[in-house]
């Protein structure tokens, strides 16, 4: 009833105005024909023109909505009672987690001492993506901030007519238990870093935990890190994509002389001896073997083959520092929010390489060192593509985007052949079974699930090594289901702390699956 009254009153307002408009025209036409006194009539016409000016002026403000809103935002720091009141009074939609269970929601309202407040049960664990946590107001890169319009959007037309409409709930792909566990593990290392878990078949981000804050961009999405040996996966993919022999013997000595002045060593100076094919290089993460592969492929395939393949795998190749790429297409995520796309699009994984790149630098790049920058989410997308049979999907944080992709039959982009992807998956399982990632094994033993991965240790002069673990989690049927990427700045070798976290996250995922099955059952 209230809504009918509301609309009826608005209609009456316009109706009376319309009647007045018609009357004005009729009177003016009549008066122009018959009136003797012209000047009052001319002034009257002037009044009508002013009405037109008013209409145009009012419309102009509406047309400049974005500029004005931007101005208001800039000036709101000096007081904006409207904004303050509406923000304090608003009842935004809840942010449900992947289970859509309100009891596990990531952003809710709770009464505390008689006052209702927006609460974020994840606390600091969700601070760098969901919202809440310390300095929440300073973080302009959270879903709470970037989806504020969507969360405030009334769900129905009737609700829209309310004085204070309630917002629309939003379901995220993030799972509260997995994110909390990821954060717990990350905090346990006492190192800056990030943990990202993705569903390889949908691109949904199931867990995201990252250190950082408003003045210290969190690792995960907005900050570059050197990938270390994780990049060897791309090198191996290139090898297999060009049909180079799988059973070839590759030397893996302690070190390899690349030029007269440049020499590349294996991690901790270990010599392994000859290994068979790229799989043999990946399992022990043999630097010298990777350099041998890179130099041979350069000779055999040429530089352009590298450039084309790396571009396909999601690494932007640029020739000089001045031409470093920036993502301005904002297509990294599959999202309904333009704000999220603009603010959260990570800088592109990038590699500086050209035909003029020297032999030493070429060798360095093959083991993930040198002018090579990646983000954790960027690597996660690449690893997910390997798990998805070589098809790369855009990551998603909104469940609606996952549903939409299913509805649309999202094809993704094939970045490598299914065969290459399978070979990489096998090699990654080998890494955890018997290679540098064995530290992960104890965590998921006996679950029936399996973990494959690639460790990475990036050496930065003057500080402890950065550690990576990029893994794929396989279900009991042997299908790759999830990717898990861990990066720890100064966290030491990737085969230690990062691999352990990878194992622990595998365990958490298995438990999460079991809990979900129990709820469904």
């Amino acid at each position: 009833m209230d809504h009918i009254i509301n609309w009826a009153l608005r209609a009456a307002f316009v109706l009376v105005g319309l009647g007045a408009g018609v009357w004005i025209f009729r009177w003016l036409i009549h008066a122009w024909r018959h009136a003797e006194e012209r000047w009052p009539l001319r002034i009257a016409i002037g009044m009508l023109l002013l009405a037109v000016v008013y209409g145009a002026g009012h419309y102009r403000l509406l047309a400049q909505r974005e500029t004005i809103e931007e101005g208001r935002r800039a000036y709101s720091q000096y007081g904006d009672p409207r904004r303050t009141e509406l923000r304090r009074a608003d009842v935004r939609g809840w942010m449900n987690d992947c289970s859509d269970d309100p009891a596990k929601a990531l952003a809710v309202y709770r009464a505390r001492n008689g006052v209702v407040e927006r609460t974020y049960p994840l606390g600091a664990a969700g601070a760098n993506l969901v919202g809440g946590g310390p300095d929440a107001d300073e973080r302009d890169f959270t879903i709470e901030r970037l989806f504020s319009e969507e969360l405030r959007e009334p769900p129905t037309l009737l609700e829209k007519g309310e004085l204070h409409p309630v917002g629309t709930d939003m379901r995220l792909t993030l799972c509260s238990d997995l994110t909390a566990r990821a954060w717990q593990l990350l905090r346990g290392t006492n190192r800056p870093g990030a943990v990202v878990v993705q569903d390889v078949q949908t691109g949904a981000v199931l867990a995201y935990a990252a250190t950082g804050g408003p003045d210290d961009p969190p690792f995960g999405i907005k900050r570059y890190a050197p990938p270390g040996s994780v990049f060897k996966l791309a090198l191996a993919a290139l090898w297999w994509e060009h049909g180079l022999p799988d059973s070839i013997t590759i030397p893996c000595p302690t070190s390899i002389q690349v030029t007269d002045r440049a020499r590349i060593q294996n991690f901790e100076g270990r010599g392994i001896g000859p290994v068979i094919g790229p799989t043999g290089v990946l399992i022990p993460s043999c630097n010298t073997g990777a350099v041998w592969m890179a130099l041979r492929m350069r000779e055999q395939l040429g530089e352009q083959a590298f450039i084309d393949a790396y571009q396909r795998f999601g690494f932007e190749v640029y020739p000089t520092a001045e031409e470093a790429p920036r993502d301005t297409s904002y297509r990294f995520w599959s999202t309904t929010s333009r704000d999220f796309a603009r603010r959260m699009t990570p800088p592109p994984n990038r590699i500086r390489m050209s035909e003029r790149t020297g032999r030493a630098e070429w060798a360095q790049l093959s083991i993930g060192q040198g002018p090579l920058d990646v983000t954790v989410i960027g690597i996660s997308r690449f690893i997910s593509a390997i798990g998805n049979g070589g098809v790369m999907l855009p990551p998603k944080v909104e469940y609606a985007a996952v549903e939409q992709a299913e509805e649309d039959g999202e094809q993704g982009v094939r970045v490598m052949s299914a065969q290459t992807a399978l070979k990489l998956q096998t090699a990654m399982i080998g890494v955890v079974d018997s290679g540098t990632g064995v530290a992960a094994q104890p965590f998921f033993q006996g679950t029936g699930w399996d973990l494959g991965g690639k460790t990475g240790t990036a050496q930065i002069p003057g500080r402890p090594d950065d550690g990576w673990f990029s893994g794929l989690i396989f279900d009991p049927q042997g299908r790759a289901r999830y990717s898990v990427v861990i990066y720890l700045q100064g966290g030491g070798p990737g085969g230690r702390m990062p691999a352990s976290i990878g194992g622990a996250m595998t365990r958490a995922l298995v438990e999460h699956q079991q809990a979900a099955r129990e709820v469904q059952g």
Binding site: E37, L61, Y78, V166
Partner: protein, 550 residues
């Protein structure tokens, strides 16, 4: 009987043809009743009916939909009673005017009532808002309590039991009410007799209009005013000067928290009309103008508009008076060059004011681009400019909140803008009724102004014509200044529109002005009717007047 008469079935004239005679009213009661019944156009009656229903339902919507959510200000019940009394007053005015056989332009009477009825519900919501009346730190506190209450009521309305349980984990907390916080700070204001009197102008305005009509529907009082114009001018001018001389009034433009200056304007306009009327012919003839006495009179009275700016630093009032004087000169003399000359002089003075007066310069800059780049300023500069932008940015927010269709009665949160019921009333209209509603309202107001000018169009006497034009412009110019100022087409001048915005003195002065215009219109209609009766068209004589005697 001619063939045409036969076709049209005209009856044979009764009695022999002769000279026309005027049959007095009491001798033809039927015709008189019919005329009286037909005197108000049906469209106006319909408009009045719609707007009355609108007024009542919109008030109901505010009381039912907004009060429980936001809470109310102290004295809100009184405001509701006052609003009910005022609508009764306005409707009674129409009834009394009909009973008094008003023959003038009904639009002049009805349209301001329609405007009042359309806008008042919006102002009612603002006046009864718990925060709008609060001041200083209390405002912030009341704002917070109001927001808290709004959030709770929204949750209680929109969430189901299960979700409410998740939020409250027990019984919901009691709704906080900001009323007590505000009651304390607004008590002195609410207890002030002067303030009380100013709020009662809403109820008194219909009576003022009626009295002004009654005083001017016969030529006597206006003739006396015209002949003895120096006395009312001196009394008014001295009163104005005395008030302006009170300490602090010059700086703030306010006397005991009110702005009574508008009450003086109809007198100044009347005096100027009288001056013009005396010399209307001579002023229209360039050769006749060259007389020291004439030039001195024109310069003396014509310079009146500069007084408000010099005395109380009120540029808006000066512009209103100047614009009205220019329009009167134009209409009184029927010479465009006069109007042009005055407009050029006044436009020059306004430009001068904008180039030397800091407050006016700021207002101009605010209308052009309020959102200056903060990064190009130092912190003190930022704070200073942000304080100036404060009102404008909230007016803009109101306009944007309304969008195309508005948010509905009492909605849109227009009350968060300072002066949303005064300078920024048009942005309140925009927030609640949207672009379409605001244009509709502007058209109704335009129709009202045009109908006042229509009275001037019919007037043959230079004094009445100038007076009506001047009074119409006293209402029209503030309306346009405030309407266009609210949307930043022109700088804000601090003036508000009669019948639409809050402002007791303005409402009273405008009601008196409209009453005078209605009186003049009525007199003209009666005179024309008598002339028509005295010199009827042959057909009228046949059909209505009855006997023709040769």
């Amino acid at each position: 009987m001619s063939l045409i008469d036969r076709v049209l079935r005209r009856g044979k004239p009764v009695g022999p043809s002769g000279v026309p005679i005027n049959v007095r009213t009491h001798n033809r009661p039927e015709l008189e009743r019919r005329e009286a019944a037909m005197s108000m156009p049906g469209t106006l009656g319909l408009g009045l009916l719609i707007s009355t229903l609108f007024y009542l339902i919109a008030h109901y919507a505010v009381v039912k939909g907004v009060w429980p959510v936001h809470g109310t200000a102290p004295g809100s019940g009184g405001v509701l009673i006052r609003d009910i009394a005022s609508v009764i007053g306005w409707l009674l005015l129409v009834v009394v005017m009909r009973a008094m056989k008003y023959r003038g332009n009904w639009a002049v009477i009805v349209l301001p009532i329609v405007i009042f009825l359309m806008i008042r519900p919006s102002l009612f919501q603002i006046f009864t808002d718990p925060v709008y009346q609060a001041t200083g730190g209390t405002r912030q506190e009341a704002n917070s309590i109001k927001a808290e209450r709004s959030q709770l009521t929204t949750i209680l309305r929109a969430y189901d039991q299960e979700r409410q349980q998740q939020v409250f984990r027990g019984p919901p907390p009691e709704l906080p009410d900001p009323i007590e916080t505000v009651r304390v700070v607004t008590r002195p204001e609410r207890n002030s007799l002067l303030r009380l009197a100013s709020t009662l102008t809403v109820v008194v305005a219909p009576l003022a209009m009626l009295l002004a009509f009654m005083a001017t529907r016969r030529p006597g009082p206006l003739r006396v005013f015209r002949d003895k114009r120096v006395w009312p001018f001196l009394v008014t001018f001295l009163a104005f000067a005395a008030m302006a001389a009170i300490p602090n009034v010059r700086a703030t433009g306010k006397l005991a928290g009110m702005t009574p200056w508008e009450l003086f304007l109809p007198i100044f306009v009347g005096v100027w009309a009288a001056v013009l009327a005396d010399d209307a012919y001579n002023l229209g003839t360039p050769g006749q103008l060259i007389s020291p006495r004439r030039i001195l009179t024109i310069v003396l009275y014509g310079a009146l508009p500069v007084i408000p700016f010099l005395a109380i630093h009120d540029l808006g009032l000066s512009i209103i008076l100047a614009g009205s004087f220019a329009a009167m000169l134009l209409v009184g003399t029927r010479r465009a060059w006069w109007g042009g000359l005055m407009l050029v002089i006044w436009a020059g003075l306004v430009l001068l004011a904008f180039s030397v007066d800091e407050r006016s310069q700021t207002r101009l800059a605010l209308s052009k681009n309020p959102y200056l780049d903060l990064s190009a300023m130092t912190e003190p500069q930022r704070e200073e400019w942000a304080a100036k932008v404060h009102q404008i940015k909230l007016f803009d927010a109101n306009v944007l909140a309304g969008g195309l269709f508005g948010e509905g009665p009492g909605r849109g949160h227009a009350e968060t803008a300072p002066n949303a019921a005064d300078d920024g009333y048009i942005t309140t209209v925009a927030a609640q009724w949207g672009l379409l509603g605001a244009i509709g309202f502007v058209l109704v107001y335009t129709a009202f102004v045009i109908q006042m000018l229509a009275v001037a169009v019919r007037e043959r006497s230079a004094f009445e014509r100038s007076l009506v034009t001047g009074l119409a412009m006293l209402i029209a110019i503030p309306f346009w200044l405030s309407a266009l100022g609210g949307i930043r087409v022109v700088p804000l001048t601090g003036v508000a529109a009669a019948f639409a915005a809050h402002g007791g003195a303005k409402l009273l002065a405008s009601a008196v002005g409209v009453g005078i215009i209605a009186g003049i219109s009525h007199r003209r209609a009666v005179e024309e009717r008598l002339r028509a009766t005295a010199d009827p068209a042959p057909e009228e004589l046949l059909s209505e007047q009855g006997v023709r005697i040769r």
